[in-house]
C-alpha cells in the first residue's frame, strides 16, 4: 500500500546508531562530551603543553611565589594563572593535577567495574547463598555514605596513590554489583535463558553471551556517574590531607595548598584548580545525564 495515510516508516537502525543519534540530539550533552575530551587531551599531553614542569625543583624559584595571574615570568613567559607558594606556575600545576585526578578516577572505576561486574553476575547466575552473601554485603556498604567509608579505609590503609585507589574501588564495586545483578535478574527470568539452560549450554556461555550484554546499558550510565564521583571523592580526601601525598599533587591538594592564602586575598591558588575540577565533573555529569535518558528505554518517548 503506497497509502499517503500510512505513517512514515522509520528506517531500521542499529541500537548503537540510535543511541548515538539520540545523544547528539541534545546540544548540552554534546558540549559536555566535547569539554571532557578537551580536558582529557590536556591531561594526556600535559608534559608537552605545560609551560613548565611544576615538579622539577630546578625550574622553580621561590622569588616567583604567589605571583598574581598574568605576571611576567623571569624567563620571559607569563604566569597566566599566577603561581603558588613555591613559585610554581598554576597552569602547569593544573595540567599535571588533571593527569593525576583523571588517572585515579579512571583506574579506580576500571578495577571497581571488573570486581562489581564479576560479583554481580555471580550473584545473579548462581543465586542462593552466594547471592544472599554478596548482596547483603552490598546492602550494608551502600547504607553508609561513601565519604565515611573512604575516611575509615584511608585511616586503616594509610596514604598514597595506590591506597586511595584501593579505597575508591572498595567503595564503588558495590554500586556496580547491584546494578549488574538487578539487570541480570530481569534477563534471567526470560524464557530463552531457561531454554539455554535446558540445552545444557555452559554457564560461561550463558553469562557472557546472554546476561552480560543486557547489563551493559545501565552499567555504562552508573560507570559514568561513578567516574565523576571518584574524582570528586579523591579531591575531597586530598583536600582533607588524607589522600594523595604532597609528591603527587592532584587538584584537591592544589586547592588545599591555596586555602591558607585565600584569606589574604590570594584567591588564584585555590580558585583555578577548583574550576578545572568543576569543569571535569560537570562535563562527565552532563554526558551521564544524557546517557541515562538515551539508554533507558522506559523514558524514551
Amino acid at each position: 500500500m503506497s497509502a499517503p495515510i500510512a505513517p512514515a516508516a522509520r528506517a531500521p537502525q542499529t541500537p548503537l546508531a540510535r543511541v548515538a543519534s539520540d545523544f547528539v540530539a541534545n546540544p548540552v550533552a554534546v558540549f559536555g562530551a566535547a569539554l571532557f575530551l578537551f580536558i582529557l587531551l590536556l591531561a594526556v599531553f600535559a608534559p608537552l603543553i605545560s609551560p613548565q614542569n611544576p615538579y622539577d625543583l630546578a625550574q622553580l624559584d621561590v622569588m616567583d611565589s604567589r605571583l598574581e595571574p598574568g605576571s611576567k615570568a623571569p624567563g620571559g613567559g607569563t604566569f597566566w594563572l599566577g603561581t603558588d607558594d613555591q613559585g610554581r606556575d598554576m597552569l602547569s600545576a593544573i595540567f599535571y593535577g588533571l593527569r593525576i585526578s583523571l588517572g585515579v578516577g579512571a583506574a579506580s572505576t576500571l578495577f571497581a567495574l571488573c570486581i562489581g561486574l564479576t560479583l554481580g553476575l555471580t550473584a545473579a547466575y548462581f543465586g542462593g547463598r552466594v547471592e544472599t552473601l554478596i548482596m547483603r554485603i552490598v546492602d550494608i556498604q551502600l547504607s553508609f555514605p561513601a565519604i565515611l567509608i573512604a575516611l575509615i579505609l584511608i585511616a586503616v590503609l594509610g596514604q598514597g596513590i595506590g591506597k586511595v585507589i584501593a579505597a575508591l574501588v572498595t567503595i564503588q564495586w558495590a554500586y556496580y554489583a547491584r546494578t549488574v545483578r538487578s539487570a541480570a535478574m530481569v534477563e534471567k527470568r526470560r524464557e530463552y535463558i531457561e531454554a539455554a539452560r535446558c540445552l545444557a549450554l555452559s554457564p560461561a556461555r550463558i553469562v557472557f553471551r546472554h546476561l552480560l550484554p543486557n547489563c551493559l546499558p545501565p552499567l555504562i550510565v552508573v560507570a559514568t556517574v561513578q567516574v565523576a564521583a571518584a574524582i570528586a571523592l579523591e579531591a575531597t580526601l586530598s583536600f582533607l590531607g588524607l589522600g594523595l601525598p604532597i609528591t603527587e599533587p592532584s587538584l584537591g591538594l592544589l586547592i588545599a595548598n591555596g586555602y591558607q592564602y585565600l584569606l589574604s586575598g590570594k584567591y588564584w591558588i585555590s580558585f583555578f584548580p577548583g574550576i578545572a575540577l568543576l569543569c571535569t565533573i560537570v562535563s562527565i555529569n552532563l554526558v551521564a545525564d544524557q546517557l541515562r535518558d538515551v539508554l533507558n528505554p522506559r523514558l524514551s518517548r
Binding site: P145, G241, G274, L278, I281, V282
Partner: protein
C-alpha cells in the same frame, strides 16, 4: 507498631555489636599510635609505661573484650590525646554538628521541594530548564571547593560573614548550646549550612521534579481536576502528598549522609563539630575517639532509619509496619 519498634530495636543492638567488632578490628590495624603520641626522644621505659597505660600491651581479643565491657556501661574508652572519655568528647561536639546538619537539611527541603515542583510542572519552560541545569551544577560542585569560594566572596571580598568557627552560642532549653538563636550565631551558621545543603538541594530538586512529572500523568490528578479543585489544591494536596512519600524517605536516609559530609564542611569552616574531631583523631591515630565516633554514627543511622519507617507508614496508608521492610 510497638512490636515493630521493639523488634527493630533488637535488630539494632545486633547491628551495633557487629559494627563495633568490625570497627574495632579495623581501627586496631591502623599504624602505631605510640609513635605519634610519645616524644621520639623518650627512652624505652617511658614507651613501655605509656603502652601499658593505654592498654596497648594486651592482645586484640583482650582489648576488644575490655572495650565491650566498658561499652555496656556506656564507656567507649578514653581518648589517647585528650585523656577524657571518648564518648563525652563526641557528645560535647555533637550539638554543633547536628545544628549544622539540621539547618542544611532545612535549607535543602525549603528550597528543593518548591524548585523541584516548579521544574516538574513546567519541564520545558526557561525556569524549569534553569533549575535543572543548576541541579547538575549542584551535583558536580565539590563541597569543599564551594566552601572555599563562599569564604572568598563573603568573608574576604565582601567582609560580610565570619570565615570560621561557631561564634557565641546560646543555651536552648538551658542545656543545648545552639547558634541559631542569635544574629551573630546565624552569621557563623549560614555559610557552612548553605555549603552542606548544596548537594542535597540538587538531589531534592531532581527527586521532586521526577515525582511531580510522574504524578501529573496519573489519572487521579486528572480526576482531581475534573472535580473542579483549584490548581493549588491539586498540586498542594494530591500531587504533593504522593511525592512526599519518596521524598521523606530520602530526606531521612540522606540526613545520615549530611552528618557524614559535615566532616568536610566542618574542616573548611573550622566548625567545632564531631566531623572535625574525627579528622583530627585520624591524623593522630586517636583510636578510641575514632571507634566511638563510628559507633555513634551507626547508632544515629539506626535511629534515623527507624524514624523514616514510622513516618513512611504514616504517609502511605498502603504500608503496614507489621510487614517488615528489611
Amino acid at each position: 507498631m510497638l512490636v515493630f519498634i521493639i523488634r527493630r530495636s533488637l535488630q539494632s543492638v545486633l547491628v551495633l555489636f557487629v559494627m563495633s567488632l568490625l570497627v574495632f578490628v579495623g581501627v586496631y590495624a591502623v599504624g602505631n599510635p605510640i609513635d605519634i603520641l610519645i616524644n621520639p626522644q623518650a627512652d624505652q621505659i617511658d614507651r613501655e609505661r605509656a603502652i601499658a597505660a593505654l592498654g596497648l600491651d594486651r592482645s586484640l581479643p583482650e582489648q576488644y573484650g575490655g572495650f565491650l565491657l566498658g561499652a555496656l556501661r556506656g564507656d567507649l574508652g578514653r581518648s589517647f590525646v585528650h585523656s577524657t572519655p571518648a564518648l563525652a568528647l563526641i557528645l560535647e561536639r555533637m550539638p554543633a554538628t547536628l545544628e549544622l546538619a539540621f539547618t542544611a537539611m532545612l535549607i535543602a527541603v525549603l528550597l528543593g521541594i518548591p524548585l523541584g515542583l516548579w521544574a516538574g510542572l513546567r519541564p520545558n519552560g526557561i525556569a524549569g530548564r534553569t533549575i535543572m541545569a543548576g541541579s547538575i551544577l549542584g551535583f558536580s560542585l565539590p563541597t569543599f571547593w564551594v566552601g572555599l569560594m563562599l569564604i572568598m566572596v563573603f568573608s574576604v571580598m565582601l567582609g560580610w560573614l565570619p570565615s570560621n568557627g561557631r561564634g557565641p552560642t546560646t543555651l536552648l532549653f538551658g542545656l543545648l548550646p545552639v547558634s541559631f538563636l542569635s544574629l551573630e550565631g546565624w552569621s557563623h551558621l549560614v555559610m557552612p549550612a548553605t555549603n552542606l545543603a548544596l548537594f542535597k538541594l540538587a538531589l531534592l530538586i531532581r527527586l521532586t521534579r521526577a515525582g511531580a512529572r510522574e504524578a501529573l500523568l496519573q489519572d487521579y490528578v486528572k480526576f482531581a481536576r475534573a472535580k473542579g479543585l483549584s490548581n493549588a489544591r491539586v498540586i498542594g494536596v494530591h500531587v504533593l502528598r504522593n511525592i512526599l512519600i519518596p521524598i521523606v524517605t530520602v530526606i531521612g536516609l540522606e540526613f545520615g549522609s549530611v552528618i557524614a559530609f559535615a566532616i568536610v564542611t566542618e574542616s573548611v569552616f573550622a566548625w567545632p563539630g564531631m566531623g572535625k574531631l574525627l579528622i583530627d583523631s585520624i591524623n593522630v591515630l586517636d583510636r578510641p575517639v575514632i571507634v566511638a565516633y563510628l559507633l555513634v554514627i551507626v547508632f544515629l543511622f539506626i535511629v534515623i532509619n527507624l524514624v523514616v519507617d514510622v513516618l513512611y507508614s504514616a504517609l502511605d496508608p498502603r504500608v503496614r509496619l507489621s510487614e517488615s521492610r528489611g
